[in-house]
């Protein structure tokens, strides 16, 4: 009797085939959106052109005309980039202090920060509208940047904290001995050492900002409206504009999906707060 069982037929052919089928099924809606984006609006709803059609770029070329796409995309880029930068700017010193000079309260502070992430946004919908409208901040880039930054700050600080914890304390302390200032320490020692961790944290933060769809919809009208708002505003084209809507949707999610491929690992960390290893 063989001790090591021979791989069954299923293990050899069935499992890979099934895995591929599942993968393709999950990807299919995205694939279909991209296919539809190359059809004219008329072709997109005709069963006879379901698979065979003449591909056209017109939906992409007319994105500005049809939807003012680049204005919304510009807002998305501006708000997501500045929110990420600001979050890191506040988050790095905070995580640095927590990782290298922890006090007894550090754990509680971290847990409290995470708990703010768990508050349902809708609960404070009216106060937020009220405050921002009376402060004249409603529908401004500044407001959206701050809100995006605050909702992602707990995750960012938490992720940075876990990366910084891995750095040997001696290296930082050696810097302190040499009389380097705190800012110097962060800039010259910490950031170069934890560069990979910081970069992937930033990437994940950027993705979350880009995809955010509550405050960006409720706290904007036109000036600071992001792509979420644009798509939400064109929710029901009743089949008239499937082609152009697919194009604008594909343009809105394409870059982010590709970025996402590069930070799968960080996603697990960032979204489970390190509880799954």
């Amino acid at each position: 009797m063989a001790i090591v069982a021979k791989p069954s037929k299923f293990a050899k052919y069935g499992r890979p085939t099934l895995a591929w089928v599942v993968g393709l099924l999950f990807f299919f809606p995205i694939f279909w959106m991209v296919v539809t984006s190359f059809k004219t609006d008329a072709d997109a709803v005709k069963p006879e052109h379901l698979i065979w059609f003449t591909p056209t770029l017109e939906n992409y070329l007319n994105m500005t005309e049809n939807y003012d796409y680049w204005r919304f995309a510009g807002n998305s880029v501006i708000t997501a980039v500045f929110a990420t930068v600001f979050t890191l700017f506040v988050g790095i010193p905070c995580a640095y202090a927590m990782a290298f000079n922890p006090s007894r309260a550090t754990k509680d502070v971290l847990m409290w920060m995470l708990s703010t992430k768990m508050l349902p946004a809708a609960a404070v919908l009216y106060p937020m509208t009220f405050i921002t409208k009376s402060a004249g901040l409603f529908d401004t880039h500044f407001l959206i940047i701050m809100v995006l930054s605050l909702i992602n700050m707990p995750i960012v600080i938490w992720m940075l904290f876990t990366y910084f914890k891995e750095i040997p304390k001696d290296i930082i302390e050696a810097g302190q001995m040499d009389g380097v200032s705190t800012w110097g320490e962060i800039k010259e020692i910490l950031i170069p050492l934890a560069w990979g961790g910081i970069a992937s944290t930033a990437l994940l933060c950027f993705i979350f900002c880009w995809n955010e769809a509550y405050w960006t919809v409720r706290l904007t009208t036109t000036d600071a409206a992001t792509l979420s708002k644009l798509i939400e505003g064109n929710r029901a084209p009743e089949g008239l504009f499937f082609g152009r809507l697919s194009a604008v949707s594909a343009a809105a999610v394409g870059p982010i999906v590709v970025l996402g491929w590069f930070c799968q690992k960080q996603l697990v960390q960032g979204l489970t707060f390190g509880a799954v290893k």
Partner: protein, 312 residues
């Protein structure tokens, strides 16, 4: 500067910002939930400005608890959240076990699988409700239409025609009605979050004790009992975490409901708050406090679990 003061100083911007972000709006919600506060009321204009003299005690809470909308929204929230949880966990475990062994193209399959998670919620909803689920022009409508056409042809065929004339015409499902649009939301969110569950379960499976597994194989344990007595217990903790994190996220599900069901009666708590907030701020705030309580019940257990691993 002394060593002890500095860390507190470096933490303070983040702490202060988050404190403001949490306390001020939440404090206002709490305050508004105890007063009469509406945006438009011609007969009682004094109610249109927030003031302590409009104190209502628990009146808003009573009003909300007695409104049909609230009960329906709670039921609907639970239906949506629980269905998504069951589907994503079951699918997630199955798919994670399926693709955990190396096979040709494993990396590509992983990339294909994880992609839906990065699609922005608004696009997810617009894509599914129009291009895929639309009863006439979407893939669903086209599929049902072509099956019906085929049946029609077969009905007119000689010899077998009588048999197919016994078959009914297929009816496409409209996913824009109250109940069916809840199903549409469940489908699209399950599509988006199953990859998340898969990713977490796969991460966890990689730390599974391989020696134990080999020992089980040598003892002649069947694949089923390996799964049941080794893999599943190993996944218990990640499953709990996936359930809690998703519960918190999906209790505040908004974009999908807004896009799929505007005005058709399919609402969850955040959507109901949005509706109340058009006029009755008191009721919106009371509903908001209920939402906070609901989320906190889940968050309490989640935070305890995270806390245990935090300082390891």
């Amino acid at each position: 500067m002394s060593d002890r003061k500095l860390p507190r100083l470096l933490q303070s911007p983040a702490v202060i910002l988050l404190l403001i972000w949490m306390l001020i709006p939440l404090g206002m919600t709490l305050y508004f939930s105890f007063i009469r506060y509406v945006l438009n009321n011609l007969r009682r204009p004094e109610w249109t400005t927030p003031s302590l003299s409009n104190w209502r005690g628990f009146g808003n809470y009573e009003f909300v608890l007695n409104s049909k909308d609230f009960l329906f929204a709670i039921q609907n929230s639970l239906l949506i959240v629980c269905s998504i949880l069951i589907l994503t966990v079951v699918l997630g475990v199955l798919i994670a076990v399926l693709i955990n062994k190396t096979f040709p193209g494993q990396g590509i399959v992983r990339v294909l699988l994880i992609s839906p998670f990065f699609v922005m919620p608004a696009v997810n909803a617009v894509l599914w409700i129009n291009m895929i689920l639309d009863p006439v022009l979407g893939l669903q409508g086209i599929a049902v239409g072509s099956i019906n056409d085929m049946l029609d042809t077969l009905r007119n065929a000689p010899l077998v025609g009588w048999f197919f004339s016994l078959w009914p015409e297929l009816e496409p499902i409209s996913f824009r009605a109250t109940q069916t649009s809840a199903y549409a939301v469940i489908i699209m969110v399950t599509w988006q979050w199953t990859p998340f569950a898969v990713l977490i379960f796969m991460t966890s499976l990689q730390s599974e004790d391989q020696q134990q597994k080999e020992a089980a194989v040598l003892d002649g344990a069947s694949i089923w009992s390996q799964f049941r007595f080794l893999t599943l217990p190993h996944l218990a903790r990640p499953i709990a975490i996936v359930v809690m994190i998703q519960a918190i996220f999906h209790l505040s599900l908004y974009a999908e409901i807004e896009i799929v069901s505007r005005g058709n009666g399919n609402k969850n708590l955040p959507y109901l708050i949005g509706e109340f907030a058009n006029n009755n701020i008191g009721a919106a705030s009371a509903t908001g406090i209920f939402a906070v309580i609901l989320a906190n019940i889940v968050a309490f257990f989640l935070l305890r679990m995270i806390g245990r691993t935090l300082m390891e």
